[in-house]
């Protein structure tokens, strides 16, 4: 199964998502993000530019482990009594889009 989804954001930006299960190699080993000013390739927690040069993201956060960062955010929000990034309210639009796509595909 191959799939392509085109989305237009509220600011007019067009996003194209292309997925292929015909790609040789393990599923989902990398994602290529093609933007209007640059291309980035994400391989798990590592980041490369379009020329396959590694980008140092080691100082971006306290850990290179995405799950640890996610858990840190959860615990920090509890301690600080605030809404976390990726709160259920913040991510609800994802599920609205999913539902909309689902309806259209019947």
């Amino acid at each position: 199964m191959d799939m392509s989804i085109q989305l237009k954001a509220e600011n007019g930006a067009i996003c194209t998502l292309s997925l292929s299960f015909n790609n040789e190699g393990p599923l989902g080993t990398f994602f290529r993000y093609i933007g209007d000013t640059a291309t980035y390739i994400a391989r798990y927690d590592d980041l490369y530019n379009g020329k396959d040069e590694k980008i140092d993201v080691s100082r971006v956060a306290v850990s290179m482990n995405g799950i640890e960062l996610q858990d840190r955010e959860f615990f920090a929000a509890i301690r600080e009594g605030r809404e976390p990034n990726a709160s259920v309210a913040q991510v609800l639009p994802c599920y609205r889009v999913l539902d909309d796509l689902d309806q259209r595909m019947g």
Binding site: G35, D71, E73, F74, N85, Y95, L101
Partner: protein, 175 residues
């Protein structure tokens, strides 16, 4: 020293264990209960990580004194119901992706969160870290916050793939 947060983890599969590994690295947080479908395997994991309480029923865990929060790394179809169960028991909850397998259920979780005022967070990994806090320049951050959680790569399937696209769309729409 601030009070130690007491957390429970539901789902002792490969992904749940990654949360246990992560929590070990975080000061002031203790995993006090592990909930799994198979008691033997769950006990084994609990012993390895030094977790004192093991059960196959989330309701048992929710009765534990001092419990602050639950992380749900259970199968998708259980997410929304368990999230509601945790919130109704007065516990903060983090739900691994996807939050729910229907819009209606996702909305129900959001409604309960608003009612209780507790922290309810979805495991959209790349929305959590510093990319969103302006610690790296926009030229990179504008792209970086579109990155998908690495663990999603391991769960290929139409639903999660759609989730990726919609997460991306959401970021674009609100970025």
């Amino acid at each position: 020293m601030t009070k130690t947060l007491k957390v429970a983890l539901a789902g002792a599969g490969a992904f749940g264990l990654r949360h246990l590994d992560a929590i070990k690295e975080i000061d002031g947080v203790e995993t006090i209960s592990l909930i799994g479908r198979e008691l033997d395997k769950t006990k084994e994991a609990a012993a390895k990580y030094g977790v004192g309480h093991v059960t196959t029923d989330l309701a048992d865990t929710l009765k534990l004194p001092g419990l602050d929060a639950v992380i749900l790394a259970t199968p998708t179809q259980m997410h929304a119901a368990q999230a509601l169960q945790c919130l109704k028991a007065g516990k903060h909850v983090q739900i691994e992706i996807p939050l729910a397998d229907s819009l209606k259920d996702a909305e129900a979780v959001v409604a309960e969160q608003k009612k209780t005022g507790l922290v309810a967070m979805a495991g959209h990994t790349r929305r959590a870290p510093a990319y969103l806090e302006g610690r790296i320049p926009y030229s990179a951050a504008g792209r970086a916050d579109l990155f998908l959680p690495p663990h999603q790569h391991e769960r290929a399937g139409p639903a999660t793939l759609l989730d990726r696209s919609s997460a991306l769309a959401s970021r674009r729409a609100h970025g």
